[in-house]
């Protein structure tokens, strides 16, 4: 079974040289730490920055330079700033190659719910609805089950929807799942996790790939 760092490491294997990537808050942010050596990946921040660098040193902190999680950051060589309309313009027009998001629920048809729990404080969708409606390749990074031990991989989302049929792949602590016409297709299982256990913890339709392998992270 993976921890959150393992999930981030596995998702980093999906990166390709020259990709423009938007990383959501939480586990997705960790993916930036595992960009393979020698590969150039440009990170997009929806508040108006292409080319997010590492956190600043204490004497470089700049209140005007933050990421979408409102954390202070730096820029990389070749970075650029732009306004919020252009930021979502590059997302909406399909320029961003890969989007990695967290989720509360994913359905076996690729629907995603990640912005609202009825009855609890509603904080808002931020940029999530824009991202899922437009990004061409969306990978969800999340825990397989919620705090109550219930599957977050469902046949239908029970929480308010963020976007329809948009998720392409889900990476959890148990495995890697492609969204296919036959539902979640398990293509890799995490070290020490049995396929039986994955079946037990998955409520949506689940198919096991013929060439399913153990994940290497």
């Amino acid at each position: 079974m993976l921890d959150k760092f393992g999930i981030a490491k596995r998702i980093a294997q999906e990166l390709r040289d020259g990709y423009y990537v938007n990383l959501g808050i939480g586990i997705p942010t960790l993916v930036a730490n595992y960009v393979p050596e020698g590969m150039e990946v440009i990170l997009q921040s929806e508040n108006g920055l292409l080319g997010i660098g590492p956190f600043p040193y204490a004497d470089e902190v700049d209140a005007d330079l933050i990421n979408a999680g409102k954390q202070t950051v730096t820029t990389t060589k070749g970075s650029s700033f732009f306004d919020s309309a252009m930021s979502f313009g590059m997302i909406r027009s399909g320029r961003v190659d890969l989007t990695v998001l967290g989720a509360m629920e994913v359905a076996d048809n690729g629907d995603i719910a990640n912005w609202k729990i009825p009855g609890k404080m509603v904080k808002g969708m931020g940029g999530a609805m824009d991202l899922v409606a437009s990004a061409k390749n969306i990978i969800v990074a999340m825990q397989h089950v919620n705090k109550a031990g219930e599957s977050k991989l469902l046949s239908k989302c029970t929480l308010p929807i963020t976007g329809l049929g948009c998720v392409k792949k889900v990476v959890t602590e148990l495995g890697v799942f492609d969204i296919t016409p036959e539902g979640f297709r398990c293509i890799e299982y995490a070290p020490g996790v049995s396929l039986e256990y994955i079946k037990e913890k998955t409520l949506g339709r689940l198919a096991i790939a013929d060439d399913v392998t153990e994940m290497s992270v």
């Binding site: 921040s45 929806e46 508040n47 108006g48 920055l49 590492p54 956190f55 600043p56 040193y57 204490a58 902190v61 700049d62 209140a63 005007d64 330079l65 933050i66 990421n67 999680g69 409102k70 954390q71 202070t72 950051v73 700033f81 732009f82 306004d83 919020s84 309309a85 930021s87 979502f88 997302i91 909406r92 404080m121 509603v122 904080k123 808002g124 969708m125 931020g126 940029g127 999530a128 609805m129 824009d130 409606a133 437009s134 308010p160 929807i161 963020t162 976007g163 329809l164």
Partner: protein, 233 residues
Amino acid sequence: MLNKIVKNADEAIRDINDGAVLMLGGFGLCGIPENCIAALVRKGVKNLTCISNNAGVDDFGIGLMLKTRQVKKMISSYVGENAEFERQLLSGELEVELIPQGTLATRCMASGYGMPAIFTPAGVGTEVAQGKEVREFNGKQFLLEYAFNSDFAIVKAWKGDTHGNLIFRATSRNFNPLMAMAGKITIAEVEELVPAGELEPDMIHTPGIYVNRIFQGVNYEKRIEQVTTRLKD
């Protein structure tokens, strides 16, 4: 002769009255018009509708106007980080309309470009789509969203000149240039106000035609929500 300069924030917001619809620039606390928010609190205008990506924190940004109960309605994409906001929302004192961030930005942009509406895929199939017209283009569904109408847009820039030309800095640009284009009256507060001719025309983000009033702000706090750093090796 152009006369856009005002003395300070109090003069800039002098005719903002109860019930006004305001746009306020900024993302989180980054690039917010600190001086004008303080002046609005001093003036005590009430029943404001605020269009702003976020609602500040408890004791800074728009949070200051929430504390004094000056805001009737917030139109935002994300309103976490604010306990007073949550209290007023749950007690029904405050009305909130949550809209996707890209939709918020593009509805500002449409207003500044003189276009009545836009089509966006954000929110199709969600509760955001309720009651909205859906149109299909090239096999994909889009929602019709209207340009905003606001009485005043209040923005913060890094540098400005006496003609109202504005330059923003780093990610404090965010919604500011979009809102600057979208106000019936646009007020810009800047960190440094210079005579016309000192800013390089190629470097201008917002042309002065969009800006009605400009002043050099004072005592910028520029509070940071999350200071994250790394250690030197």
